[in-house]
């Protein structure tokens, strides 16, 4: 049994214009101490998937189906109390924008101790000591003094360190990092990623790293999920995704990364077209309108997830066609695909 089992998770936003299926049938497993990367462009449903796990969606967002099992316990539809006991305790999350993610009117110390007092039996003095210890652990100098400071007195990198300290204070089993470096300077980004790797080795928690920065994924993730329009389009080990991408969208993403070793006359190849209008989803593969190799079937029917190699799955008709041609997949009598 995996530590976290997400099955066919569906989350929708019910807007006045209609239902937006932000997450539409996402499944994955996360084992103890592993690092799972979720990549995708803005609006692909990465963050919403994470919020759905902890059920911290803001209205009109709502989990409408599927299952999230933590240590075998179902979280979807569980009581508020049960989920609260897990939040910040067994599963923690850090957010994209550290500038606005801390309450401005309470001290750092107050906010750190809050989580510790809530989830552990420590008294105030012990909680304070633990908070100071955590600040030291995330590399904040003079932690005693920082305890009495407010978030507006700290830099962005410092605030993200405080967020990490807060998230890890109760030694969670899973840390969800929702684009933890997007809002930071490049040099600070590297420091934060280094810090997270170091803490992961030290504390052994599992991490779900949500990002659109493929470099971050490559440096720390064991497994990777690529998301597009609320669905998983490809999944595999970091090596498989980087060196042997199968899905046309993943290939496009990788082509659009600048390469420091290439000669400077080489141009980046962007993915053509526009991100999807989530209110008007195409009937077929969501990526088909932007895909160079789209076939007739791509526009009318959604591709299934299909193994292209051991532990490597892609949901792409082009891959399925290749599979049929090489004899790996057979069509059943109705013309459906048998995997």
């Amino acid at each position: 049994m995996a530590l976290l089992e997400v099955r066919d998770l569906k989350t929708s936003f019910f807007t006045p214009m209609g239902e937006i299926k932000a997450v539409d049938g996402v499944s994955f497993d996360l084992d103890k101490g592993r690092v799972l990367g979720i990549v995708g462009e803005s609006g692909s449903g990465k963050s919403v998937s994470a919020y759905s796990i902890l059920q911290i969606l803001t209205p009109p967002g709502k989990v409408v189906g599927g299952s999230v099992k933590f240590n075998g316990d179902e979280l979807v539809g569980a009581s508020e109390k049960k989920i609260r006991d897990i939040r910040g305790n067994r599963i923690s999350i850090i957010f994209q924008d550290p500038m606005t993610s801390l309450t401005p009117v309470f001290t750092i110390g107050n906010q750190l101790m809050e989580a510790i007092l809530l989830h552990t039996d420590r008294n105030k003095k012990e909680a304070r000591a633990r908070a100071v210890e955590m600040l030291g652990l995330v590399g904040i100098n003079d932690p005693e003094r920082r305890m009495g400071q407010y978030s507006f007195e700290l830099s962005g990198g410092m605030r993200q360190r405080v967020m990490i300290a807060m998230a890890l204070a109760c030694e969670p089993d899973i840390l969800i990092a929702d684009e933890p470096t997007t809002a930071l300077d490049v040099t600070i980004q590297a420091q934060i990623i280094e810090l997270m790797t170091e803490l992961q080795h030290k504390l052994g928690m599992a991490i779900i790293m949500i990002t659109h920065d493929l470099g971050v994924i490559a440096s720390i993730c064991d497994e990777v999920i690529v998301m597009y329009a609320g669905k998983v389009c490809e999944r595999g080990t970091a090596d498989q995704i980087f060196y042997n991408p199968k899905h046309e969208y993943t290939k496009g993403l990788l082509r659009s990364i600048p390469n420091i070793e290439s000669d400077d006359k080489e141009r980046l190849i962007p993915i053509s077209g526009m991100p999807l209008d989530m209110l008007h989803m195409p009937a077929g593969c969501a990526f088909a309108p932007r895909c160079d190799r789209a076939m007739k079937i791509c526009l009318t029917s959604q591709p299934q997830e299909y193994f292209v190699a051991q532990d490597h799955i892609s949901a792409c008709w082009v891959n399925i066609q290749e599979g049929i041609q090489s004899g790996l997949i057979k069509l059943d009598e109705n013309g459906g695909v048998k995997v």
């Binding site: 609260r84 939040r87 910040g88 309450t103 309470f106 989580a115 989830h119």
Partner: protein
Amino acid sequence: MSYKFGLYILKRFGMAFLTIFIVIFMTFFIMHAIPASPFSSEKARTDATIAALEAKYGFDKPLPVQFVNYLRGVFVFDFGLSTAWVGYTVFDLIKGGLSYSMRIGFSAAFIAIVFGVLLGALAAINRDRWVDKIIQLITTALVSLPSFVVATLFLLIFGLWLRWLPTISTNPGGLVMPVAALALYPMAYITRLERSSMLDVLGQDFIRTAHAKGLSKFKVLFKHALKCAVSPVITYAGPMMAYILTGSMVVENIFSVPGLGRLFVNSMLRTDYMMIMGVTIFLTLMIVVMNFLSDVLYKIMDPRIDLE
């Protein structure tokens, strides 16, 4: 910090003095520019009587001299003698009226702030649901209704038709209606302020962080959100307190409360220069003090605020 704060206090004091001086200056010369005199009445008085009266109150001297004399008095809290209430000093009259006004004012301010904040928070939490809609409907009505309409309606409904409450404030239970009439407008206003500010705060990232920590909804709302959302209420509540504590002219007249507001109206009707000046200065002082207190409280609630 403490040095800076000292400097700030000093600056505020200077500003307060200047404000009060300007108010005194303007009221004094405007009062003396109106054609009516404190001694004009239906009763025919001989010129000799009026001259004697003016000499007694010092009104016979040239205006600049009177002004300087008045200022000299203000420094030692001597606001002169009332011309309408013979034999009383302005200071005593204000003190007497204030004891009634404050009794009503404190209750009204307390009700307005506490219920305003709670109702506003409640409306924000239940945004667009029926609780919110009802609160919005009632507060919109209360904010648009002038206090004399509300007070008269109260008098009519609870005093005359239902006979639940006495119509005169000095009878037992008589303070209920004036307090309610005084509290309703600021309460409704605070409710609306708090609602919009709370809605703004609830959409902030740190609220999500607080939820993600595992805090209960109650704690997220009443610890993290409320402390941030209360700032506009503090800004409004400062001057509001000043006005409410010094008595409402309308409410005190309707419910016959012998407070400062009623005193003010009567002194105007009787062109009692000294009383009008005294009450105006007192009101100015209250507003200056309350504004200062609300600024300090603002800083305490939101450490990002720099008082400089």
